[in-house]
Amino acid sequence: MQSAQPAKPVPASRMARAFKRLRRYPATLFGFAVVGIFFLMAIFGPMVAPYKFSDQKLINKLKPASAEHLFGTDQFGRDIFSRILTGSRDVFSIAGSGTVLAVLLGLTLGLLSGYLGGMADEFLMRLMDVLLSIPPLLLAMIILGTVGPSRLNIVLVVGFLYIPMVSRVVRSVVLDIKTREFVEAAKMRGESNFYILFREILPNVLPPLAVEASMRFSYSIFLVASLGFLGLGVQPPSPDWGMMVSEGRTWFNLAPWVLLYPAGTIALLVVGVAFMSDGLRRMLLPGGVSN
């Protein structure tokens, strides 16, 4: 019986074919490129920034883009380019850690729920329904409005909010996989639950989980940026992109670049992540597996 072999998620030849398919979708390539560049920016940006993000020079305030200040300066004469570079680290680390947290917790709950079934499944899923009954942005706002928007709190809130979505995806895959022959075979061989969960089921969960994780990442960036705009993001003096846009509104008529560069940066990153996520779906779930 060939199904005795643990199912490998994506064999090498399938990977190669996936990349071949990828070339037909320039948007996906664009997405991967953008995310890669922003990732490098988050790591090295603060080091290579031409100015310190908090350096004020009031003489230089609200200056348009020049060779000295690539994206111009804001109302305090701070270099907008440097602020965006420095802020990229927060966006990546907060949205990224929040996503990782949601994926790990959602994976655990989804595996348990789907594999155990019965009462445990019922209980966990009803709990998820309750969390889903409150729109994510609303819940994030009232929690952060109460406990205060520190970096850690934002990460925890993002991680917590997206657990239900991730665990539902994982659970539905587990429910599908656990009745397959190779799982039945492993049970008959007398393998432990631990073995079955991690060697037989988990590999099959990974591709849809990767797609879900990339989608959650784009929603997290969306959420973190929106919270920043509403004043519930990382607090000043840290250069939060959403907050930079919000503050820039005051100078919109006079110096639109104060707002447009951070807004454009958010737009570029979010669109990049969305295209990457769509590409991952095409590559990893060619059959168009539902979620």
Partner: protein, 315 residues
């Protein structure tokens, strides 16, 4: 069907109860307490203690919760800690404004989303499809404050075409408010458009691949007749459900969009109340939003049940 609806309704009420516990406990976690917030930090301890007793804050938290919940259900939503006004009329006036904005937005993005979705499906994987899905995906990913401000820059500031600021009086009649609704409605629409078009696309593709469509094609019916009589009639039904499900997106979008344009809706009031730490208002607004959200999900479920009878058996 009645039994199905009743079961779903019971489920929704239980969920709402649980959500109310979450909302109440989260907002009560505030460091310091409501009495301190009302009186300010320079109030004497006696004054704070008196107000606590007056507001019933010295009672056990569970008693406070049930008292709050029962009052909320009876329609007594309390008095705002900031404006000292009755919360319910204030929230209701703002809710009306949000519903006006939401209706204009829905009238924009639903027909357009369906149209784009059908075009994408017919030209599956062609240039038009990739262009539509790329652009709508890009807009769906953009936070409303980015699209909103770009629209303001483009249409309001550059061309002086539409008002950039929608901070009208909360009780402005629809006819006068309309011109202030256009830019915010476009902003909200751009986010939801992609969702509708994607869903329409996939359901239309399913129908296009079905046997009865092939049969209609082979009978030699003209293409447009196959499309209107056989394909659309079946593929658009699920979209009804999608619209109801999309209300969650819409609510999140409204909160941000109303803040961008200063439009006096319930989302703007929520942001304002959180900034002022007006717990009484935050609780009422959250409950209203969660109730609307839950019932739109219920409607989606029921519509789905009507359109797809198999689902009812499982439950």
């Amino acid at each position: 069907m009645i039994a199905y609806i009743l079961r779903r309704l019971g489920m929704i009420l239980l969920t709402l109860l649980a959500a109310s516990i979450i909302i109440f406990s989260v907002t009560q976690l505030l460091p310091g307490d409501v009495a301190q917030v009302i009186l300010g930090q320079f109030a004497t301890p006696e004054a704070v203690a008196n107000l606590r007793a007056e507001l019933g804050l010295d009672r056990p938290i569970v008693v406070q919760y049930f008292d709050w919940l029962i009052r909320f259900i009876q329609g007594d939503w309390g008095t705002s800690m900031v404006s000292r006004m009755e919360v319910r009329p204030m929230v209701m006036a703002r809710l009306r404004n949000s519903l006006m904005l939401a209706s204009v937005a829905i009238l924009m993005y639903v027909p357009l989303g369906i149209l784009l979705g059908v075009i994408s499906a017919i030209k599956e994987d062609g240039m038009a499809d990739q262009l539509i899905s790329g652009i709508s995906m890009a807009f769906a990913g953009l936070p409303e404050f980015v699209t909103g401000l770009l629209l303001i820059g483009l249409l309001a500031v550059s061309f002086d075409f539409l008002p950039a600021n929608s901070s009208i009086e909360p009780d402005t009649p629809f006819r006068e408010a309309f011109q202030y609704l256009i830019l915010p409605a476009i902003t909200v629409s751009l986010t939801s458009l992609g969702y509708i078009s994607r869903m329409t696309r996939s359901s239309t593709i399913d129908v296009l691949r079905s046997d009865y469509t092939r049969a209609a094609d082979m009978k030699g019916l003209p293409r447009w007749q196959v499309l209107t009589k056989h394909v659309l009639r079946n593929s658009l039904l699920p979209t009804v459900t999608v619209v109801a499900l999309g209300i969650g997106w819409l609510i999140g979008g409204l909160i941000v969009t109303e803040s961008v344009f200063g439009y006096p809706g319930i989302g703007r009031l929520l942001v304002y109340s959180i900034q002022r730490r007006d717990v009484i208002s935050i609780q009422a607004i959250s409950m209203v939003i969660v109730t609307i959200y839950s019932f739109s999900n219920l409607i989606a479920d029921i519509l789905y049940g009507i359109l797809n009878p198999r689902i009812r058996l499982g439950g």
